[in-house]
Symmetry: C2
Subunit: 459 residues, 2 copies
C-alpha cells in the first residue's frame, strides 16, 4: 500500500482536518468541574460519530464519571491501540485569555500559524492527528494497514478515576500488541521525540480548621490560632535550603540517573536561559545539585498548586479565618510509591498541626512513574519513521508531566507504550491562550501515517 | 433636669428604638466594596434625616470616599463630640449566615433576645444607643443637658482614608471638650468598661509574581520558581518559635506593662479556657511568655488575614501559578511606628524574594496605638454613671482592636476620648451571624442618658 498517496491526501485535506478539529474544540469538555458534565458527554458523542464516519466500529461506554470511547477497525497485521483524552483543563483566569477559549481560530504568529483554543494541544489537537492519519489511509486504500483500537477517555485532567476499573473490566477489548499515546511534545521545533520516562503524580488537598468561626483579628489575634499561619508554616517548610522535599522517606525509590543517559541528555541542545526566559524567569529554582533537564525528566518535586483562606476580595478585612486550604502535588520518579508518600506526607503534616486544630485531607490521584522498555521493535520502527518526517532525527527522552495511562497499559494489559506527541514547550497547555502549531497538527498527522506504515511491516 | 423621666421614656420606647435601628441595618453599607457605594450614601442620608427628626442641625459632607455626617445640638454646658461609624464589614462567606445579613430580626437565644444583622454590633447598634439617649432627653425636656456634636463616618471598616483630611479641614466644627466613642465592648455581660488603651494597625497586601504566565507543574515544576512556595516560605517565617514577630525592629516602642496594671488585669475574671472555648479552641497561641489578656490588650501581633494563589476550585489543576498574594496586618501598641514597621516589613520581604521574581505591596491603613489620659474628670464621671446602670462596677481596660479615631482626636483636635461600648465577645462582629444583645442596646441607651447627665454637671 502506498504511503506517498496517503501523505499527499493529508496535505490536500489539511483545511478540512482543521475544521473537524475546530468542531471538537468548540465543546467545553472540562472534566474537573461538574458543571461541564454534559459537554464531556457531547465530546464523547462527537468522537464516536467521527470514528464511525471513517468506518470504525465505535461506541461510547458509560462510567461512574465521564464516558470512554472505544473503537476498532482492521482485521489483519499487527494490532496497535491508540490512546488520547477528550477532556480539557479549566480555563480560569478567563480574563487572561485573548479570545473565548472555546471559540477556536487559526492565528498568524511570528513562529507560524497556530490553532488557538483550550485543548488545541492538550489533547484534542494531538488525538486528532492520529484520527486524521487513519482517515487518509482509509480514504486512499479503503482499508487500514494494520489492526487499530481507539481508546479515548474524558477524565485525564481530573485524575482518571474510572480508568483502572474500566481497563480491568475490558481487558480483551483493549489489549493489543503495543499502545500508542499522543499526549507529549516535540523535543524541539525540528526534533521529534519518543518519551521513555514519565513522572508519576500524587495530589493532596489539605484543609486546616482552627477556630470554629471566622474571628476579628483585633479581638482574637494573638491568643487564637490562625489556620493560615499554621498552613504557611507547614508548607513553607516543605523544601529545605537545597530545594529538596523534607517529607520523611520522600526520596526512597529515586534512582540515580545512569551515566550514559545523563551524557545523552547533556548533549541535547537544552538551554536553561531559553527554557526559563520563555516564561519570564532566569534563575533555575529547585534542587541545587541537578540541571533543569534532569529535574524535569528524572527528579521528583513537590509543588503547591493552589492556596486559599481568609479574606481575598478587594480592600481589607481584619479577619482571623476559621479555615485555610491548599492543593499540593508531588511528581514522582523511579520506584517512588505514591501511596507511601501520601501516608508520609499526611503524618508529616499532622505532626505540625496544633492539638486544638483539625486537618482534613482529600486525595487527588496517585500514579507511579513509568519507565518504558524500548526493546520492542516498534520503538526503532517509529523512531525511523519520525526521523523521515522531521528535519532532525527523533530522540528518546523523559517527560516531566504525568501520563499514568502508560504505566497502566504495562501493569494491567502487559503492553509496552510509545509516547509520541507534537506539542511545543510554548503551547501554554493548562494556561490561558493555549495553542497548537498548525505545523504540529499537519506534520503530526503525516508522522502517524508513516508510523502506521512502519509498524504494519513488522512481523 | 430629671434623669429618671429620661430613663423611663427609654424603657417605654424600646420597641420604637429597635425598629429605627432595623431601618438603618437594612442598608448594606459595606464600605470596602465599591459595589456598595450608593448604599453607604443612603446610610448617611438616613442618619442626617434621623438626627434632624430630633432637632439636630445635621448635614452630609462629601469626601473622596464615603460621606461624613456631622450634626450639632444644644447651646449651653460642656461640649461633647460623639463618634460612630455607619459602614459595615463585608458579609462573605454568605452561606454561613442563618439569614440575610441585611434583613435584621429579633431572635430569642439561650442568653436572651438579640438583634441579628450585619452591623448590629459593629457599629450601627452601638451608635444608635447614643442617638436614642439624645432623642429621649430631647423628648422629655425639649432640650439637651449639654452641647453635643455628632460625627459619623462611613469608612471605618476600610481604613478611614478620608478621615484625617476631613478632621484637619474642619477643626472648628469638630472640636469639643471631650470625645465619646461607642465602638467597643463590655468587659463581661454584667461589667461595663471604659477603654483606655487601643492597639494600632498596619495592613499590607503582598503579591509575588514568578513566571509571567501560569505554567504546567509537570513541564516546569522544579526548575521554575513557584510564587506560592516563595510566599509560604516568607510568611511561614513571620513568627519564631516563641510566637514573636521576626520582622527586624518590630518590637521597638513596645512598653513593658506597668506592674499595677498587670495586677489589676490579673484580678479581672478572665478565663483563657472560656475565651478560647467559645470559638472552638483550647490552647493559647501567640507569645509564649504573655497571658491571653496581655496579648490582646497590650502586645503587638502579626496576622495573615487572607491568602490566595493558583487553582482553588473543585478538583485539581496541576498549575504552577504566575502570582500568589496575601493580606497581612499588624496590631501595634505603645510607641510602635506603623510607617517604620511597614518599611521594615517590605525590606524583610524583599530580601527573601528571588531576583527573577517581583513583589508588589499595597498599603491598607496605618494607625499607631492610643493610650488615653484618664485625668480628665469626665472619665470618673462616666465610670460612676456606668456603675449606676450595670450590676458590676465599670473597669478601665485595654482593647485589642484598632480604633484609630481615638488617636486622631488627641493628635489633631487635642481632645481626650472616652471609649464606651456595650458589645459582647460573642457578637461575631466581622463574622457571619453578627448580633447585638437587646440588653446591650437597651442598657447602652440608658448608660448614655446617665453619662450625659453626669458630664453636663461637670464645671
Amino acid at each position: 500500500m502506498s504511503l506517498d498517496k496517503v501523505l499527499n491526501l493529508i496535505d490536500e485535506s489539511l483545511s478540512d482536518s482543521t475544521e473537524r478539529l475546530f468542531e471538537l474544540l468548540r465543546i467545553p469538555s472540562i472534566s474537573t468541574d461538574p458543571a461541564y458534565k454534559k459537554d464531556c458527554d457531547q465530546a464523547a458523542d462527537w468522537l464516536v460519530a467521527d470514528l464511525k464516519s471513517i468506518g470504525v466500529d465505535a461506541q461510547k461506554h458509560p462510567t461512574p464519571g465521564h464516558p470512554m470511547v472505544v473503537g476498532h477497525i482492521g482485521d489483519k497485521g499487527p494490532h496497535v491501540l491508540f490512546y488520547g483524552h477528550y477532556d480539557v483543563q479549566p480555563v480560569d483566569p478567563l480574563n487572561l485569555w485573548d479570545r473565548d477559549p472555546f471559540d477556536p481560530a487559526l492565528e498568524d504568529t511570528a513562529k507560524g500559524k497556530v490553532i488557538r483554543a483550550r485543548g488545541s494541544s492538550d489533547d484534542k489537537g494531538q488525538l486528532m492527528t492520529f484520527v486524521e492519519a487513519c482517515r487518509a489511509w482509509q480514504t486512499v486504500h479503503g482499508e487500514m494497514p494494520c489492526r487499530i483500537t481507539f481508546f479515548f477517555e474524558g477524565e485525564e485532567e481530573s485524575g482518571s478515576p474510572s480508568l483502572i476499573p474500566f481497563m480491568e473490566q475490558n481487558k480483551d477489548m483493549l489489549t493489543a500488541d503495543i499502545a500508542l499515546i499522543c499526549d507529549t511534545g516535540l523535543f524541539a521545533d525540528k526534533t521529534p521525540a519518543i518519551v521513555t520516562m514519565l513522572r508519576g503524580l500524587m495530589g493532596e488537598e489539605i484543609t486546616i480548621t482552627g477556630p470554629d468561626k471566622d474571628l476579628h483579628s483585633g479581638m482574637y489575634g494573638g491568643p487564637a490560632r490562625n489556620p493560615i499561619r499554621v498552613l504557611t508554616k507547614i508548607l513553607g517548610g516543605l523544601h529545605d535550603e537545597q530545594g529538596r522535599v523534607t517529607v520523611p522517606d520522600f526520596y526512597a525509590g529515586v534512582p540515580e540517573l545512569p551515566a550514559e543517559i545523563k551524557e545523552q541528555w547533556d548533549n541535547l541542545k537544552f538551554e536553561n536561559s531559553e527554557f526559563l526566559g520563555e516564561v519570564g524567569l532566569s534563575i533555575p529554582a529547585g534542587e541545587t545539585d541537578h540541571t533543569a533537564l534532569e529535574m524535569i525528566w528524572s527528579r521528583p518535586t513537590g509543588e503547591i498548586n493552589g492556596i486559599w483562606g481568609g479574606y481575598t476580595g478587594e480592600g481589607f478585612k481584619t479577619v482571623l479565618p476559621s479555615k485555610a486550604s491548599a492543593k499540593v502535588s508531588f511528581r514522582l520518579v523511579g520506584q517512588q510509591d505514591p501511596h507511601a508518600i501520601r501516608e508520609n506526607f499526611r503524618t508529616w503534616v499532622k505532626a505540625q498541626v496544633p492539638a486544638d486544630c483539625r486537618v482534613e485531607f482529600t486525595p487527588h490521584g496517585a500514579s507511579p512513574a513509568s519507565v518504558m522498555s524500548t526493546d520492542h521493535p516498534a520503538f526503532e520502527a517509529a523512531r525511523s519513521a519520525l526521523s523521515d518526517e522531521w528535519p532532525d532525527p527523533a530522540a528518546f527522552v523523559g517527560c516531566g508531566g504525568s501520563i499514568p495511562i502508560a504505566g497502566y497499559f504495562k501493569s494491567l494489559l502487559d503492553m509496552d507504550a510509545m509516547l509520541i506527541g507534537f506539542g511545543r514547550d510554548d503551547d501554554q497547555i493548562h494556561s490561558p491562550n493555549e495553542k497548537y502549531a498548525l505545523e504540529s497538527f499537519h506534520k503530526g498527522t503525516r508522522s502517524w501515517a508513516r508510523i502506521l506504515d512502519a509498524v504494519s511491516k513488522l512481523s
